[in-house]
Amino acid sequence: MSVLIDKFDVFAGGFWLTLQICFLAAIGALILGAVVAVLRISPVPPLRALGTAYVTVFRNLPLTVVMFFAAFGLPALGSNANFLRIPGLDAVFSRLGTDLPYFRFALIALSLYTAAFVCEALRSGVNAVPPGQAEAARSLGLTFGQNLRYVVLPQSWKASIVPLGSVIIAMIKNSALVGFFGVIGDLSQTADQLTSAGGYAFIPVAIGISVGYLIMTVPLGALLDRIEKRQAVAR
């Protein structure tokens, strides 16, 4: 058990790095997912097809394949994903600016993959709004923008918050994969390093790592359950 105390800083560092990845990837996925969702509900058929194609591809690929593409395909194209070295942001998230690109590759893969699910969550929210609502809004003479802003989106937001939450939880769990793709020092890589290279006993390390992930996922899941129950009552 002593490894938990001796190496507490390693565990804490891993936790912090995983949290950083999750935070950045969540932002990326939410933005990209919103764009794809807009594409999928747009009135222009080719854009809709583009959105559908994106979702079909990324929903049916294992994240592992996306990661491989990012980690081996991008270097083959001579890219180091330097566009992610955003000034200011890399002061807070120091890994963004490092010369080793794997953090950025992992971020790209995770965002691309999660965006497909974010899009589906948002779209299912819009679909959950009864058609009569938007029809009534149109009959009142609201424009498309007003219709979205005052009638559809406020209601769809309620319906999509729980699925969005599950997507984010899933993403946190998915982020465990990045440790196997060259990102050094996140929780999963810490597990590998401490047990194989560090030679520490397996059980305490496993407990430490598990606790690290459970701290992130379980409270979020409980929160979602509460929101879901309250919404069920409200309806």
């Binding site: 058929p45 939880i169 899933a170 982020s175 496993a206």
Partner: protein, 322 residues
């Protein structure tokens, strides 16, 4: 699509149709130019379309073609074996777990009136404790990334002197995670049934075990079938994590091929197409089943099919699988 549009847009008139047509053309051109500049050009500049890189994968006359596809076939076989075993075992374990949790829950409400007081208290305490333990187990394994579960299984078992084939580590790791998820799906299916079902079963004299087996489980399976199928897609996707413990599944084989031929983009593209084909048809199957379910058997007595909401959530969770 048409239903989608009817929510947000009116049926387009002649002017709107013209606008749509023109903007479609513009959008197509923009998308094509974007694809050319952002995807085709970088690939072509690096010579990624050369036959040297693609040949072993698509050209039957290439010297490496048969060997490459033999290896990929082996990988596919391993992937499907692992997926089938994991699906089977997680279905079995998941069903048992769901039944166990339901039974324990009903046990905690029992008062054991016929027994001596201390014994009754002991039994009640025991059932509460067991129920809490299973709940914690479920929460823990649901909250852990499946990567970590597989990794722990592969590292932990040899630690205790038990060692298997890599295949079994992968199957066990996947089962641990997915059986818990399936158990939750089934449990929410059973709890979502109207209370009258269980009451009626009790009224005609079925024991709790019989009630679960004959009344609750079949209906839960029916309602939750779409969610279950999408969970199966997740399992199939998750077998690709076998590369962590160097199980020879498709991706790992792909890695070996790349090591020899040095064409990562091409090999991964082919593997991606394979995965998409299989998973897409499975998702279509899930949609078809859901469609059939919502259409069929709409008698007054059957409970409302509230599958869509739960199915969606579990699919989102499904991302978590991998």
């Amino acid at each position: 699509m048409s239903q989608q549009n009817s929510v947000l847009y009116d049926v387009p008139g002649p002017r709107q149709r013209r606008i749509t047509l023109v903007s479609s053309l513009i959008a197509t051109v923009v998308v094509l130019i974007g694809a050319y500049l952002l995807i085709y050009r970088p690939l072509a500049d690096k010579g990624q379309f050369s036959m040297e890189l693609w040949g072993p994968l698509i050209d039957p006359s290439n010297e490496n073609f048969t060997q490459v596809w033999d290896r990929l076939g082996v990988g596919l076989k391993h992937t499907l074996t692992a997926a089938a075993l994991a699906i089977l075992s997680s279905l079995v374990v998941g069903t048992l777990l769901a039944v166990l949790r339901i039974q324990l829950k009903s046990l905690t409400r029992r008062r054991f009136t016929g027994l001596a007081t201390p014994l009754a208290y002991l039994l009640r305490g025991l059932s509460v404790l067991l129920s809490a333990v299973t709940r914690v187990c479920v929460e823990v394994f649901r909250g852990l990334p499946v990567v970590i579960t597989i990794f722990f299984v592969a590292r932990g078992f040899p630690e205790f002197g038990v060692s298997f084939d890599n295949l079994w580590y992968l199957v066990i790791g996947l089962t641990v995670y997915n059986s818990v998820v399936i158990a939750e799906i089934l449990r929410s299916g059973m709890e979502g049934l109207p209370g009258g079902q269980a009451e009626a079963a009790a009224a005609i004299g079925l024991s709790p075990a019989q009630t679960t087996r004959m009344i609750l489980l079949p209906q839960a399976f029916r309602i939750m079938l779409p969610a279950l199928i999408s969970q199966l897609v997740v399992v199939l996707k998750d077998t690709s994590l076998g590369f962590i413990i160097s199980y020879e599944e498709t991706l790992n084989i792909g890695k070996q091929i790349i090591g020899v031929l040095g064409n990562p983009i091409q090999v991964y593209a082919v593997i991606a197409v394979l995965f998409i084909a299989v998973n897409y048809s499975l998702s279509k199957l899930a949609q078809f089943v859901q469609h059939r379910l919502s259409r069929g058997r709409k008698t007054a007595g059957t409970p409302a099919q509230q599958a869509p909401a739960t199915a969606l959530i579990s699919q989102a969770e499904g991302a978590g699988g991998n």
